[in-house]
Symmetry: C2
Subunit: 411 residues, 2 copies
């Protein structure tokens, strides 16, 4: 019994190893797979036949340059499986359908419903997900699951939002269970910043990735990638940097955030409060995240159009954010900072040209740091949530095997 | 040629694997080694014979409880190899001799010479190291090397101190080369906080270790251990947290540090400046780290004796340090903070009883955090530097082998 069960797991594991090698390549021959996996030629032959039968991979057209009989490259079959990623920002709901090749097949951004009952948001998400799958016209049975990227703190294992400051009334909401029931899909809950870092890491062209990801949306957060590994934190709640002090002389805003903190420096609510204070615009309803987000868009647009007061306000925000980034880089000694999230498109014209120099000024060691905008764009967290679902279902899990034993034998 | 070279490296690698298994155990049988390494019985037999011949391991007394013929436990031979660790704090120089069992055989703490020429300090270190080895009466040929823990920023690979704010006049000092020449020993340079975290990790009784180490000495620094791995930073300069803002309303001190920063909250120079300002003591010569350190000792002693002003000053320092630790815990989501370094013995009576609660107040997620004093004590960085030398010379290096291939074959 025991032995049989181990062998079954080994076969599954080896199949997952091979699928992973195909997913991470742009076309790989059976000989390559044999070399990279250490599995026998017969095992590779069996596994690839099974993966082709299951429509998870397919044979592609051989290149013509090599001598002799060209080897047939195996590639992922994009329609073999899908996942859906949802990013719940308090103002913007982003939903993407990802295919097995890691491409976004269809994406959508909606206003997050400004309601007091979280179940209305859950229902809205379920409807949006359903609509997206239908509109994409893909086989629903091949949608592996639903990944949710949400503000923390959260209990990822239980699928519960604990008490996110960004989502009032969402105390102890069983988002995982509720969405599973509403959609019929397995649900994976993760933190917005972690999901964003995951997508950014996958999109990177570098072989070695160590960076801090600064997330700017209705809230601010950070995540860390060390040597191509996304750091999640012991309770999956990495990156709460809103209270990090960045300006001792900052004004006291009429809100709950810490005076002089990173959140007070750059989240839409704080920027809008600052703008209203200097008479740039009337104050929107601060309980309405969409109204705040729209007001922030207006502020950024005015700065882009040359309004000196608006531009100065964003310049000050950039200085403060740079102090915060300096703290993170000084602490973690990373060579790169990536900034993204739903707010980034609007702030980047003011931030990106100056941020590298501003952060460099904060550094103790003269090591230099590169500051970049997200390569993925403002759906980065939704995409990362969808990628985490594909990984959850498809990636080989060493934990399922005995540690220290190489995976061998015929699959 | 190529093949032969690989086989030689494989044999060395396997020997290092076995030695590592013995070092990390409290006695392990040949059968255990075979199981844990995956190597053949014959290979284990060959390797252990060689390690015994080289006096790196020895046979210990079998326990009596098992049935049948008791297996002979193999243990490290403490006298098989040694390393020396030196911790250069600007005020205190700590030197330890570590044996192969990881025990400190002999340790010494001296005042760091307050001289403008770094070469005088280098000569003093070399003399101290020589004296320690002589006093311990160990075989000098078995001292593998010298580990140096120093304040950053530094270039660990080149063995050069770049421009440490804590060590004026030490700009671009080639400490590695100079000490190698002066002692005849291979030298490994590392950052104080990294060395401290290494020793703390080794001393831990936990199987899973994720923590932030806060280093308190003439300067303040931090290091991070994630899943039993010491994070070093891309340039080996992790943990520059002195500029981290912890008190927006802090007084302006007559020094070069950032107003309201973590260094201004807790390093001896800042504490002594604060004490002098409220009339507790005259100001020592601030260019003399030893004098500053002694004045700080006097301040801590007065607080311990019940002086209300001194106690209040340290209480305020504890509050500020807690804000800084809150930032680190909120960012990294670690369950534990360990505080140590040469200043810790003096601050812990004021800090330790209150720090857990103070940090908990700063946390966004109600996850709780444990705050502990170093289990190693104030020679933690010197000990860590010595441990890094043993690792450098003895630990198996996967990078020396092809990735993905298990190490097999007869060693």
């Amino acid at each position: 019994m025991r032995r049989g069960s181990n062998q079954l797991r080994l076969a599954d594991y080896n199949q997952a190893v091979v699928l992973e090698l195909v997913r991470r390549s742009r076309g790989v021959s059976r000989a390559d797979l044999q070399r990279e996996s250490g599995l026998s030629s017969q095992t590779i032959s069996n596994i690839t036949r099974r993966l082709i039968d299951e429509q998870l991979i397919r044979e592609s057209t051989p290149g013509g340059s090599a001598r002799g009989r060209p080897s047939i490259p195996l590639v992922t079959d994009p329609d073999g499986a899908y996942s859906v990623g949802v990013h719940i920002d308090p103002a913007r709901l982003t939903v993407v359908l990802l295919d097995l090749a890691g491409e976004v097949r269809l994406g959508r951004q909606e206003h997050t419903p400004q309601v007091t009952d979280p179940s209305e948001v859950t229902a809205f998400i379920a409807d949006t997900v359903h609509g997206l799958i239908t509109e994409a016209g893909v086989d629903r049975a091949r949608v592996l699951g639903l990944g949710i990227a949400a503000p923390g703190p959260l209990d990822a294992d239980a699928g519960v939002l604990l008490d996110p400051p960004q989502l009032p009334n969402w105390r102890d909401v069983r988002l995982g269970a509720d969405l599973r029931e509403a959609t019929g899909l397995p649900v994976l809950l993760g933190k917005d910043v972690t999901a964003a870092a995951t997508a950014e890491l996958r999109a990177s062209q570098e072989t070695s990735n160590t960076f801090v990801f600064l997330y700017l949306g209705s809230g601010v957060g950070a995540s860390v990638v060390l040597d191509n590994q996304v750091v999640r934190g012991t309770t999956n709640n990495i990156g709460e940097v809103g209270d990090l002090l960045v300006d001792s002389d900052a004004e006291q805003l009429e809100w709950s955030g810490r005076r002089g903190g990173l959140a007070a420096a750059c989240v839409p609510e704080a920027l809008v409060l600052q703008a209203a204070r200097v008479g740039l615009m009337p104050l929107p309803d601060l309980n309405d995240y969409v109204a705040v987000d729209d007001a922030c868009s207006a502020l950024c647009a005015r700065a882009a159009e040359g309004d000196a007061v608006a531009a100065r306000l964003l310049r000050r925000a950039a200085h403060r954010v740079a102090v915060g980034l300096g703290v993170l880089v000084n602490l973690l000694d990373v060579p790169r900072v990536v900034i993204g999230g739903p707010l980034w498109d609007r702030l980047s014209p003011a931030f990106l040209p100056v941020m590298g120099d501003l952060v460099a000024r904060e550094l103790v060691a003269a090591r230099g740091v590169e500051v970049q905008g997200s390569a993925v764009g403002d759906r980065v967290a939704a995409q990362g949530a969808a990628e985490l679902v594909l990984d959850q279902f498809l990636a080989p899990r060493a934990s399922a095997l005995m540690v220290g034993r190489p995976a061998r034998g015929d699959g």
